[in-house]
């Protein structure tokens, strides 16, 4: 494309090669404006790519990435045969499915209710309150949860004791975390996500709603037959994009809430937390990289598929 334009630009100037050089010179300011970003992505996104090779070696410090013994697919083989890869993939995908499905349902629910509110003041204040969790760091999310749930002094246990009930110790019980993590994730994201749907409702033609009212549609019918169908395109697009990221975990949430509590790992270990541990505490860079590469490839395929589907349904929204 760039070449084609360059040729066109040089139509009067004779040779093709000189044309390209001239074009490059002509747009030197715009090129310079892009240069810092080009260098940035080269340094932090492209430079790590050759290092993927570490997934195929048995890494040691003396040898470094390219001097360690090559062992082919053994790292992958180990991860697959030990069942680790399957467990991590399963956890990551199941959590994401719960986040995506319940997250969208709750966001739509909140957006529709907000739309029915007539008090501007109430709308504003409640939206601001719901937005608060989005602005805090994941570290603080971990602390909020700890302060609520810890066995010794946590708020929930304070209440339980006061009611004469037995204390609850979720930090030593892996079975409750799938539910807890979903709740925490929804708590943090819904305020933000509902804005997208709220904007979509605002985009529905007000005349259609008025017309329905005049025709005698009641509130439930209005939501069922006008608002929900009106939100469908937004929902479909958001779901498809979410599918593109189905193997990418919410590392900050899991790392800060679960942390290094290995009792909880069977139900809370996702790809990101495993890779982080393998790289930073076990220094097993080869294994960490093998899992990371596996994740990148699956992720890439998922994005391609979801983008392909988006392009079929709603070409305007496709990524590329």
């Amino acid at each position: 494309m760039g070449k084609g334009k360059a040729v066109a630009a040089s139509a009067t100037g004779g040779k093709k090669k000189r044309g390209i050089r001239e074009t490059l010179w002509k747009y030197r300011t715009l090129e310079l404006m892009c240069l810092p970003a080009i260098i940035f992505f080269f340094m932090f996104s492209y430079m790590p790519l050759p290092g993927i090779y570490v997934a195929f070696v048995n890494y040691n410090y003396q040898g470094g990435i390219f001097g360690s013994p090559f062992i082919g697919l053994q790292n992958f083989q180990f991860l697959a045969e030990s069942g680790k890869l399957f467990e991590l993939t399963k956890n990551t995908i199941l959590y994401n499915l719960a986040f995506i499905i319940l997250g969208n349902i709750l966001a739509i629910f909140v957006a529709i209710l907000l739309n029915e509110m007539r008090s501007k003041w109430f709308k504003k204040v409640s939206q601001t309150m719901m937005f608060l969790p989005y602005f805090i760091s994941q570290v603080l999310v971990g602390i909020l949860v700890y302060n609520l749930l810890n066995y010794d002094y946590g708020f929930v246990n304070t209440i339980l004791v006061k009611l004469g009930l037995e204390k609850w110790g979720p930090y030593s019980d892996p079975t409750v975390w799938p539910v807890l993590l979903v709740i925490i994730h929804l708590w943090q994201q819904t305020g933000y996500n509902s804005v997208v749907y709220f904007a979509a409702i605002m985009g529905i033609d007000a005349e259609i709603i008025e017309a329905a009212k005049v025709d005698g549609a009641n509130g439930f019918q209005k939501i069922r037959y006008i608002i929900l169908p009106g939100l469908r395109p937004t929902l479909v697009i958001l779901l498809l994009f979410a599918m593109g990221g189905i193997v990418k975990g919410n590392f900050g949430l899991f790392y800060n809430v679960v942390g290094t509590n290995s009792i909880l790992f069977p139900t809370t270990d996702i790809i990101e937390t495993y890779v982080y541990r393998a790289a930073t505490t076990e220094f097993n860079f080869s294994r960490a990289s093998a899992v990371g590469l596996y994740q990148s490839i699956i992720g890439f395929i998922m994005v391609m598929i979801s983008n392909f589907v988006v392009k079929k349904i709603e070409p305007d929204y496709s990524l590329f």
Binding site: M1, Y27, F44, M47, F122, S126, F131, V275, A288, F300
Partner: protein
Amino acid sequence: MAKNKDLDLMESGSKVKIGISDMIIRGFGYFFVTLYALACVFPFLIIIGTSFTSETVIRAEGVKLIPKEATLQAYEMVVHGGLIWKSYGLTITLTLCGTLLGLSIIAMTGYALQRKDFPLRNGISFYIYFTSLFSAGLAPYYLLMTQTYHLKDSYFAVFLPLLMSPWLIILMKNFVKAIPHEITESGKIDGAGDMRIFIDLILPMLKPALATIGLFLALGYWNEWYQSSLFLSSRIAVKPLQFQLYKVVNEAQALKNSVAGQYVSVSDIPTESLKMATAVLATGPIVFLYPFVQKYFIGGITVGAVKG
């Protein structure tokens, strides 16, 4: 509330009256949204309550919403420990420098890539966009940063990677798209160079975009803990605020360091209230500021969330 109901009847009264179903939906809406909004704020209130509660009460009766025997002891200790102010200084510096630098680069790139006559725009856009499709993963990145760039224990390891992201550049491009190309054309006719056009004509029109993207950057720097946890070891005494908070909550040693030299006995340190006081201090500015800037974030969502 009653007043609003009246307003409502007046608004729609001319055409349709409010049916029972509307009343049910509205009533349930007020109930549910109130409850949900309170649930969003509630955990913060407990943290604040805990930070003012004396340690003996916490140990005997647990954490409470309203502190019994309210005390400022935990805050006094954090403040006297002094480490948190150094973290504040570091985080504010990182946030200001990172936001300014990142924003300048993102704005320039976003404008250049949206220029219809720029032949390299598609190539460079893809070059940037591709990085969000496929990445090397954590391990090669970590090895590169520590062994090739030697950024272990350097603040640059925290500062640099947060400067920009493909998503923010795309968001900027979408904002620039709304500016008519004729403005660039008119600048050209007046004989202005591309940089002049960008600074004098385009930037003033990009104010909402700069506010939105600047706030996303600033929030990223303020809430940073991930790069710090990867690259800053315990040899670095002054850590970015959120990472300092992480350390104080998760490591007994860091908790002790944060109140260094004030108490003889370790068992006298009010552990729980101290953690929560640090959390309140590290988060306070955001909680006070975000209501004033949230509209820019909402703008960001509606301009760039769905459309890439």
